[in-house]
Symmetry: C2
Subunit: 219 residues, 2 copies
DNA sequence: ATCTTAAAGCAACAGTTGTCGCATTAGTGG
DNA sequence: CCACTAATGCGACAACTGTTGCTTTAAGAT
């Protein structure tokens, strides 16, 4: 979050302010990568950024503010979901990406989730990021529907959550090591349920129609 | 966690120590209920328990230690999963319990999960609690298998995680309001996938019936 | 170039947090 | 009832955290 709204007249988005912001955000990421969330202090960030403590406090208030800014910056990339040609392939690849980002130690995403518990501002930023990511992933479902792999009234969000939630649950909440094939397993289960109409938008459960096309599982 | 192992000779588990512990743990729960996790300070807990600050620091070290003790105490109850007579009913009822405990504000379970991010000791205690709860829930799957609702080689833990993860994901991580029928939806999807053999312990995916339609995925 | 003024630097300060040595209390065993 | 000592109470203290007023720097405009 850039405290001074960038467009306001009288502001100075150029030169130093921008430089300081970049230095500080970079320092935050570096500290997160080295010491994780617990090790993240305003003091260390300021020192690493080569900036005075008071400056960091004034612009970002607290650790939550710093992370909120990092989160917002993270949402500005051009990430898109994998496109492998099949629903199961897409979901599996997506899960593998998720798994990879969560198992590295220390994991920046993990740290950001932790931060969301401590700071309301970080929580809001985190929510925006989730929303953005899941929205982009809806393309996966739309393609599957277009291919005839899924019923047209499939609730994309619900399917995506069902597919990805187990990995987050185990790696973030349960903190359990996951089996190597966990990504495929979760993707398979979700795809299977979706094919059977479990995520139809109509209030009725699994539709009466037979699961359309698509092999349900790889070899 | 009770720092002095209860059985050690020379210790004094009776009278005052036990009383102080009870007062402090009760104070922690009360503070959690009133101010949530962020509002939980050693100072406030000590004051509420009518105990000196130094005592709390000495016995529990930090906030994480306090919550670890609360978590361990929580695992000593006689909770068991619902038994409704069907797999879908059990999973749905379970999800509704979960949902209920997570939506009340402030939610003690949420606070405990938040704590697990901050303190290694709390994280370990949390892990023990999860393990205990999921282990107890395996009864649900065993009953379903006995009824013939599920293939005998169903991996109970995987099924349970698939069924419950979406709710945790939305309520804890995404912090999104969930549809009233979310509990049933997630339970249905998991039960459906499980019935099709998606959680079989053999390495092959869904077993039993051939993939419906048999059409190959374009790609 | 020069002026104006956001924004950063600086240092002193108050509030909070965690630690420590010592005095006091109260279980426990004789 | 008494002696022993683990555990708590107490208060002083250092370290850390965040705030504030003032000074200095440098971006942007004339």
């Amino acid at each position: 979050m850039t405290p001074p709204p960038e467009g306001t007249p009288g502001r100075r988005p150029g030169g130093r302010s921008a430089r300081v912001r970049a230095q500080v955000l970079e320092a935050v990421r570096a500290e997160l990568g080295e010491h994780g969330y617990e090790g993240l202090t305003m003091e260390a960030v300021a020192a690493r950024a080569g900036v005075h403590r008071a400056t960091v406090y004034r612009r970002w208030q607290d650790v939550g503010g710093l992370l909120a800014d990092v989160l917002d910056a993270a949402g500005e990339d051009d990430w898109g979901p994998p496109d492998t040609g099949s629903l199961l392939g897409d979901l599996t690849a997506l899960n593998e990406e998720i798994q990879e980002s969560l198992v590295v130690q220390p994991s920046v995403p993990q740290a950001l989730m932790a931060a969301a518990f401590r700071s309301a501002r970080a929580a809001e930023a985190q929510q925006r990021l989730w929303e953005d990511r899941y929205a982009r992933c809806e393309a996966v479902v739309e393609r599957a529907v277009a291919r005839g792999e899924l019923p047209p009234d499939t609730d994309a969000r619900e399917l995506l959550i069902a597919a990805t939630a187990p990995l987050y649950h185990q790696l973030v909440l349960l903190r359990t090591p996951v089996a190597p094939r966990a990504a495929v397993r979760a993707a398979t289960a979700a795809a299977l349920a979706a094919g059977a109409g479990a995520f139809g938008r109509s209030e009725r459960g699994p539709a009466g129609r037979p699961p359309a096309g698509g092999r349900s599982v790889p070899g």
